[in-house]
Symmetry: D3
Subunit: 190 residues, 6 copies
C-alpha cells in the first residue's frame, strides 16, 4: 500500500495506462480487459488490473493536472515497480489538421507548469517520450492504417485561460494539442 | 451544467466547502449536513448540497493540485454563481508548534506553482484570503477556545519532493504548513 | 549603536511604528506620545521613544523603498531586540472603493521587488502580516466603527511607473493599494 | 543571394545536411556526393550541393552554437526554400551506455540557451524533431542493424562549463548527450 | 515644486551631485560650495545649490536604495531639467586592491534589483555611465595623480545579506565594490 | 594545441584582435601586419600572427555568436596565455546618430543571451570592458580626431528577430548598436 493507492504489491501490472478520469479507467478496464480486478478506490481514483490478449495490464486514473498525476506516477514507479506508464486521454487541438478522434503521439511536452523551474534553474528541460514505446506505437499505427500524428504537445496548468488568444503562439511553433499531464509524466519517468 | 459538473443551476449553494478528496466531501455531507443531494458524479468528483443549521451549503471535491482545483473553482464561480469558496483539507506541518489536528487559517499562500508566472510576469503576486471570512473564522475559534493558527502556507505542485530538505527554507520564513491548492483558489477568486 | 542608528540599547521600545518619512515620525511622536526622546538623527532619519497611555512605544523613519526600510528593520530586530514592527504610511489606491483617509490593513504584500528572487528561486513567497497584530487591529477598528479594509497590497520599487496602465492588472486581482516597503518588512520579520 | 550565403536560387537542394564544421561539410560532400558544386565560401562557411544515389542534396556548415546556426537555417528556409534540415555532428555523451561512434537521434532538445525566453515568456517550449524524418531514420537503422539511440539531448551555449558537475543533473533525467545547435534548429524549423 | 522636492524651477543647477545621506549633502555644500541655498527639506532629504569655482552646482540627498533614489532622479530630470546627475557616496570593496579612500568610477552597474525585470523581460540590461562624464573624470584624475579605478560595480537591494559568501561570485567576475543606487540612476538617466 | 586551435604555444601574441569573420581576420592580417604567420585553419577559423609597428599582434576569427566566440576566447586565455582580447567587427545601429563607418567603443554589453542565467541566478551581471583599454582607445581617437562613440551595446543571439520592433526598447534606453559576441567576451574575460 502506498499513501494514495491501496493495492498490494503484485496487484498492479508493470505496464499501466493512465487516463485522467477514473471513470474512463473503469470504461477501459470493462471494455478491453478480461478478469478485471479493481485494486484501488482511495479518493475515488479507480485502478484496475486485467489481461489483454493474455498480457497483464493495469489502468489507473491519475486525476487532472500534473500535481495529481505526479502522485500516482511516483507511487506506481516507487512502490509498485511499474516500468511502462502510458498516458491516454483527450486533448484540445491547436492545429487545423488535428481533428476529433485523431490520435496524437506526444514526442515531447512543452509546458506552462512550474515543476521544472526548481529542477533546472533558468534552463529548459524538454520532457521526452520513451523512444521504444513511441516507435512501437507509430509502426503499429502505420501497419494498421490508423491516422496518428506525432510531435510536440503543450501541458497546461489551466483548463480555462485568461487570454483566449494564448494558444496561437504555441500553434505557430507547431504544438499539436494541449493537455494537462504529459510533461509531468515524462519528467519523473525520465 | 458545466463541463466537469453535471449540476443544474440552483443545485449548488452560494457557499461551497472544497476538500480535495471527493470521499471527504461525501463524509462531510453525510456527517454535518441534512437533506443532502448529490449533484455531481462526473469523473467521480462528488459534490453535495444540504443544510447546516438551516443554511444551504455545498461540499465539492476539487481533486489534488492547483490545475484540478482551478477547474472546479472556475466553474463554480462562473457557471453556478458561487460567492464563497472555502478550501478544507489536510496539510503537512512545517513548524514544530503546528501539530496534528491543529487548525490553520491560510492568510496567504506562497507557491512553487507556475500559474502566476504568465499573469504577473517577473513580479510576485501574493494570493490572499478574503479578510471577512478569515476574521469570522478567527473570532469564532477564539470564542470557542479552538486552537487555530493563521499565517502563510505553501501551495506545492509536488507531493514528493526531490530534495527532502527543501521545506527548511520555507519554514525559516514562517510558513506554517504545505498543501496543494490554496494559491490557485486565492488567485482566481481574487 | 548600530551602523545607521545611534541609540543606546534600551532607548528603543519593543514596539516600533515605522513611517517612511522621518518628519512624519516626528509628527507622530509630538502628537501622540508623552515624554518623548529623540534617539536618532543619523542621516536625518529621526527616531523617537515616548509613552502612549502608559506604554513605551517608538517611532522610527524608514526612508522610502524596501532597501532603506530593510536596513532599519534589520538593525531594530537584531541590535535593539524590537519585537513588533508596524509600518504606517500613505498608499495609493488601486480600487474605486478605497478612498482617501481609509485605513488599509495589509494582510500580505505582492511585490515587483527582486529581494525574494534569490531567497526563493523561481518560487513565489507571499510576505504575510503577523496574524495576532492584524486581528487586534481589525477587532479594535470594528468596535470603534473605524472604516478599515484588509487584504493584498502591492509593494513597488518605482513611484513613477513607465507604464501608467500597469496598475490595472494588480487591481483586477484585488490588490487594494500600492506602497513601497511592506513586502520587505513582512519578509525579514517572518 | 542571402546575407551570409552567396548561392543563387536553385543552387541549394531542398534537403540540407548541417554539420557545424565547414571542413566536415567539405568532407561529407567529397566522400558521399557526386557532381559536387561549392555554392558558398562567405566567411569560409562552406556549402556544397551534389547528388546522392540520384537525389540532389546539399551540405552546409553552420558554425558552432545556436546564434550562428540560426542565421544559416533562417536563410536556407526563407531565401532558398529548403524543406528538410538535418543537423549532423558530434556530441558529448552524458550516459555510460552512449559510446563513441554511437548514433543518437535527437527527439527533442533541452537547452541552456536564452533564445526561447522571449518567445515563450516564463514557459518551457520543447523543441522537437520532425516525426516523419525521425521515424524514417529509426526504421532504416533498425533494418540495417545500426546502433542508434533516440531521446532527449542538451543544447548548450558553453563548450567549457564553469561547473564540471553540471552535466550530472541532465544525465539523471535521461539526457543522452550534449551538443550546441539542435534546440535552435528545432525551434525555428517548427 | 515636485512631490518630494519643494524647490522652485531655477533653484536647482543642471549638474547635481547625489549622495545617499542628506547630511553628506549638507557637508559637501558647506565644505565646497559658496553662496549656498538650501532648497529642500521635505522628508529631511536636504538639497542645496551653490557655486563651485564660479559654476552653479547642486547637491541632493537621494536616500538609500534604488526606489528612493529613483524618485529624486525622476523629479530632478522631469521637473527641474537637470542634465548631469553624478552619484557620490561610499561603497563596500569586493576586491583586495580596492582600499578605503580609493575612488571608483562605475562604468556600469550589475544589480540584484528587480527594476529592470519588467522593462527588459528575461534579458539583461547593463546600466552604463555617460561616457563623456566618465572620460573627463578619468583624465582629470590621471593628470592630478589621483588613484582611481573604473569598472563594474554591484547595486544591491540588501545592505545585510542572508549569505555572507554571496559577494565572492561577483568578486570573481571582477566587480569592484557594492553600493545601493547606481543601477537605478544609470537606468532612468539612459 | 587546444581543441579548436592548432597553434603551438608562443605562436599567438598576448594581444589578439577578434573579428567574427575569419576572412576579415585574413584581411586585417594582410592589410595591417608584417611577417604574417597563419597559425590556425581548424574549422576554417583562421588565425594569424604578425607585427604592427614592431609589436607582435594576432588576429583570430571567432565565428558568429557568443557560443562560438566563447570557445576561442577560452582557449586563447587558458591555453595560450592571451592577456588582451579586443573584439572588432560590424554592428547594427540602434540610434539615428550612429552612422555607417562610425566607431563604437562598447563600455558594457546588454544581452538577450542566457549565458549568465546560471552564473548569476535571477540577478543582472553587466559585462564591462577593461577600462584601461577603453581609455587608451578613447584618448587616441580624440587626439586623432576620429569619430568614436562609447556606451552600451546589445549582444543578441538572433540576427533575425521575430519582432522587428524589438530594437525600439533597447534604443530608448540608449543602447548604441547590436552585435553578437561582446557580452560573452566581457563575461569570461572578467
Amino acid at each position: 500500500m502506498s499513501i494514495h493507492i491501496e493495492a498490494k504489491k503484485g496487484d498492479i501490472a508493470s505496464t499501466v495506462l493512465l487516463p485522467g478520469d477514473p471513470m474512463r479507467a473503469k470504461w477501459i478496464a470493462e471494455t478491453f480487459l478480461e478478469n478485471v480486478l479493481c485494486y484501488n478506490d482511495v479518493r475515488g481514483m479507480l485502478g484496475f488490473t486485467g489481461s489483454f490478449k493474455g498480457k497483464k495490464i493495469s489502468v489507473q486514473g491519475s486525476g487532472m493536472g500534473i500535481p495529481s498525476a505526479l502522485i500516482y506516477c511516483h507511487e506506481l514507479i516507487t512502490d509498485y515497480d511499474v516500468k511502462r506508464l502510458i498516458r491516454v486521454g483527450s486533448a484540445g487541438s491547436y492545429q487545423e489538421d488535428v481533428h476529433i478522434r485523431d490520435i496524437v503521439l506526444a514526442m515531447s511536452a512543452s509546458s506552462t507548469s512550474g515543476i521544472n523551474n526548481s529542477r533546472f534553474i533558468n534552463a529548459d528541460f524538454s520532457p521526452t517520450a520513451d523512444f521504444g514505446l513511441l516507435l512501437k506505437a507509430a509502426n503499429y499505427a502505420n501497419k494498421n492504417n490508423l491516422n496518428v500524428k506525432a510531435g510536440n504537445v503543450l501541458t497546461s496548468d489551466e483548463f480555462y485561460e485568461d487570454d483566449p488568444e494564448s494558444y496561437k503562439l504555441w500553434a505557430s511553433y507547431g504544438v499539436l494539442c494541449v493537455e494537462m499531464e504529459a510533461a509531468g509524466l515524462y519528467t519523473i519517468a525520465a
